[in-house]
Amino acid sequence: MMKREECLKVLARHVADADIVLPVYSAAFDWIDIRPHPLNYLSHGAMGLASSHALGLALGRPDRRIIVLDGDGSLLMNLGSLVTIAAAAPPNLFHFVCHNGTYEANGGHPIPGRDRVDFCGFARSAGYPTVHEFSDLRIFEQQIGALLSGPGPVFADLKITSSGPQERDYSRLHGPHVRKAFRAALATASL
């Protein structure tokens, strides 16, 4: 098992300035401190829709890498998106799930089927051509560069430990200034 913050710090070293990143809930609060950047897409609502927003971005901006840092509880709410993404097959979409078996943002309750659910199995069955599971930070560090250099869609299950209570100011994710900054950054980057 990896610590999420350490895992995301490793990932951040391989994220380019032009990449768009969609971190979800607890990962979002870690990520925006690790990689504060206007191309973090933070306002994807609730109920697991981040991967769907990511597909829209991937279809609309095929020139950019789109990286989703999904939550396991979030993905369980939108499992159909695995099928939709695999069918649409955007080569620029990289779908990570931060898998700690916990609804960390909602009181630390376990996700259903916590000890049995197989996200890689879901992704393979849905048709993702590339599927990985990481639970060792050293191996993740060795492989993440190549994984992000290859064609998508890619799915990776990041086995992490729960980080416990965090201070969460949701205006950092859902405030209008966040969307305005993202829109401006994407438009500027289009020039």
């Binding site: 897409y41 609502g45 769907s52 829209g56 939108n78 649409a88 993202f182």
Partner: protein
Amino acid sequence: MQQGVSADIRTPEGFLRGSSIIAEIKASRIEFVLSVPDITTSEGLLHPLSQGSAPRLIRVCKEDEGVGICAGLSYTGRRSLLLIQQTGLLDSINAVRGVAVEYALPICMMVGLLEKEPGIPPRQSRRYGVRIVEPILDAMGIAYHEIEEEADVAKIRPAIDDAYAQSRPVVLLIGRRPS
């Protein structure tokens, strides 16, 4: 926004051409159609759309996925349309609430009204599932337009243009099966 529509003059024998709607969709610069099949629009819209290359059809598993995809696309400057049934719209209310309304994004939805009686305004339908749609949209502050006769097709392009110009959602209610 068409709200509080009274019992207007409509004929059950009226008609609506799928080809006219598709022409308007294309004229509205829609590049992507996201859809879960809807029985009202299946033959007249979805089948023909599935046979063309533009707009690109993305089949989604559930309607709220489509709301998210449309949202992502909206930031890239690519226009999209979510083609669904009102049952799917009702199922996606939270996504529409959060993503379309509260984030103020141009989510354009074309919604077939399952079991709506031709010639009867949606609010006067005997079907509970039809009757409640417009009041719900009113409560959410979402613009909508009824598309039931061929003359209504002209509402589509201005409605979509307005949604993008104002960055807000719009719903186009398809009240009969397009031919």
